[in-house]
């Protein structure tokens, strides 16, 4: 028994799992999850209700109860919008970039990461809409043929946003769906009732013959290549919302890479959170193994360091530059009324990830759950610290002011988490959240291709180097 736990601690996946077992385990997850799943559903619905109530109130009364005022025309809505857009990037990182790099460990976890991409984009899309003063006219941002011959202003970054987000949403939904077709066929063969009808429709006649697999591979690869530049451009365009403005602290050339790295960072942290939760809800201990969690944490750590570096670049370029108002804003962020948030962001974003440098923590789901949540709190604060201090301390001294968001804003931000959670939880219940065919590929690869187990060797070597005299017992297993 001790040997097995040892094995599961070093291998991404156990090669002894039978293929039928993979099928049955994943299909079971769609039938009877743990109690925690239903609890999460109830919590999400409650949060969503709060958000809906706040939005209904705001729709009727106006933007006033959100405590927006003359210098602070944007606040939590836009910062939370950027947060959710950022969250959507790591799904593409896992499913597309790591696919091109042939990083096999992504296979059991990319499906839910990709779902997270889609649903966080859908959550993000809500924010620019509800932050409009006149929501009922939101379609004017989209170029459609109107009798009045009026087009949107193509110079405005908000219009670019509308294009970028809808394109990315379409792309990621397609990517998610295409990658799921072979699995939907498995579901179709094992389902009854409405599920049978749904999967039959969605699996588009997948029989699993050679031609289908060949086309499938090509399409998947093409979509992956298509999605990567799209993901980078989406967040660069969101960064352009700020970088194209002339406000001190926004007018920064390094914003697009800074935003993209922050996006990947918060997304990876969210993947860790959902990894731990799904692993518990659906009893996926065999597939979402600790070594995979370990690798995700390493990736998060690396991205966190990139983000911290870009942060330093931004500070340095402002500090040594000649833009006096921007310097004032930077000083105010460190010392002014926003300093608790700003220092909290620096702590959660740049100091806390150093806990991921320890292997013990990287393999401890119970510890990683709060850590990853706090990483995301830090990333949310980052977005808030981009939006609010600049508006508080822009050029004109007469309008310098500090504001605290009103209850409507908090309610809608709170509700967005419920909206995201509900969509995500419904998805993982209706569709296979672990990719069955790719886990099978992984198992096959382990069984037939990897004769020399490099990871196991590395582990033995480490044990030997640390002074343990006994030989590693694991070699018998292979």
């Amino acid at each position: 028994m001790a040997e097995e736990t040892h094995l599961s601690a070093t291998k991404d996946i156990d090669e002894k799992i039978a293929w039928a077992e993979i099928n049955s385990d994943v299909l079971r997850s769609m039938e009877n999850p743990r109690m925690g799943y239903w609890l999460a559903v109830v919590v999400s619905i409650c949060m969503l209700m709060v958000g809906v109530a706040s939005e209904v109130y705001q729709y009727n009364v106006g933007m006033g109860p959100a405590q927006l005022n003359n210098p602070h025309m944007w606040d939590l809505y836009i910062s939370t919008f950027v947060f959710w857009i950022g969250m959507s990037h790591s799904g593409t990182l896992l499913s597309a970039i790591l696919h091109l790099f042939h990083a096999d460990w992504r296979k059991p976890i990319y499906r839910f990461a990709e779902a997270m991409t889609t649903f966080s984009l859908m959550t993000a899309l809500v924010f620019p809409i509800i932050h409009l003063g006149r929501v009922w006219n939101m379609h004017w941002v989209i170029p459609y043929y109107s009798d009045r011959g009026i087009w949107p202003n193509f110079r405005s970054p908000l219009v670019w946003d509308a294009f970028a987000i809808t394109t990315y949403l379409t792309g990621s939904v397609l990517f998610l769906y295409i990658g799921m077709i072979p699995d939907l066929a498995i579901c179709r063969d094992n389902a009854i009732g409405w599920r049978k009808r749904l999967y039959t429709f969605m699996s588009v006649g997948w029989r699993g013959d050679d031609r289908q697999w060949r086309n499938f591979r090509k399409t998947y690869l093409l979509m992956a290549c298509f999605l990567i530049p799209l993901a980078v451009s989406v967040h660069s365009i969101v960064a352009a919302d700020f970088a194209m403005a002339i406000m001190p602290g926004w007018h920064v050339t390094s914003f697009p890479p800074y935003f993209v790295s922050g996006a990947l960072y918060s997304g990876c942290a969210a993947i860790i959170t959902l990894f731990v939760l799904l692993r518990y809800f659906f009893k996926f201990e065999q597939y979402m193994t600790l070594p995979i969690l370990d690798k995700t944490c390493k990736l998060t750590f690396a991205i966190a360091m990139v983000w911290s570096y870009l942060n330093l670049i931004e500070f340095a370029s402002v500090w040594y530059g000649h833009d006096i108002p921007a310097k004032e804003v930077l000083i105010a962020k460190f010392t002014g009324p926003y300093s608790p948030f700003f220092l909290g962001m620096l702590f959660c974003g740049s100091v806390l990830p150093f806990t991921l440098a320890f292997e013990k923590i990287r393999r401890n789901p119970m510890l990683l759950l709060p850590i990853s949540i706090f990483l995301n709190v830090g990333m949310w604060l980052e977005r808030y610290m981009i939006v609010a201090p600049t508006l508080s301390l822009a050029y004109h001294p007469w309008s310098w002011d500090v504001m605290w968001p009103g209850w409507v804003e908090w309610g809608i931000v709170f509700g967005s988490f419920g909206w995201f959670g509900l969509l995500f939880l419904i998805f993982v219940k209706v569709f296979p959240s672990v990719s069955m065919y790719e886990v099978k590929e992984m198992v096959y690869h382990r069984r037939r291709v990897v004769y020399e187990d490099a990871e196991l060797r590395a582990h033995e070597y480490k044990k030997g180097a640390s002074g343990a005299s006994s030989a590693a017992p694991a070699t018998e297993g292979s």
Partner: protein, 283 residues
Amino acid sequence: MSLVRNFIEDWSRYRRSIDEGGFHEYEHMWGMVIDLDKCTGCNACSVACYAENNLAVVGEDKFENGQGMHWMRIERYWDEPNIGNERVRDTQEHGASFMPMMCQQCNSATCEPVCPVSAAYHTPDGLNAQIYNRCVGSRYCANNCPYRLRYFNFFSYYEDSWPSPLDMQLNPDITVRDKGVMEKCTFCVQRIRSTKNAAKMEDRQVVDGEVQTACQQTCPTSAIVFGDLLDHESDVHKLWHKHQTRLGTTKQKKDNPELRGYRLYEQLNTEPSVTYLERVRDV
């Protein structure tokens, strides 16, 4: 060939100096001069603006929240009393400085390119117009305005701003705005329009001094001068010329340090149409 010709024509249009209106085809170029030396900070201009433009009175609470709708506002800056002094003084040495602020009608405005629906646009009159019907309320323009001169209807103010008999005093020439719409000083565009229409009916040009903004009309010390900058005989053009304030520059160069004209945040290259004349002090 016509493509090339069009390109060359357009290019010369874009290369035109902003003194002549830049790439805009201006009929007029409304501008203003505010003499801070004459301003007493009496706030009459602000009151006149409320009356003329149907500005909502939002009440004390909302005003303190920064949700007020004063298109024309008098900003008050106290002198720093403690610089160089050991003891904090109770009284201000110079008193307050006043700064009447309204939309600067920038010729390369930062609010215009960022509006997603082109509700903020530039008129052939050199004005920075806001189309209330087109506005969706994204508030990007207000965020990008370095002067913070755009005001947003956070509530449906009309519901309780003018209780029953008071709604009779609303100006019929201008709309009452509902919630979710951005608004700002228009240089009293309704007066400009009616004067232009009258001049057109009589088949003549608009004469200098014919259009008066509400703030200019009300100012007891005549600190505000308004007119067409393209009309070289107008008072406003003469004042700009006299104080050597020029369009198309980020820093005013003057022969004589006693010339007082400057524009706000010129270094941002927004090309505002309002010149302020510095206040002169004895000390």
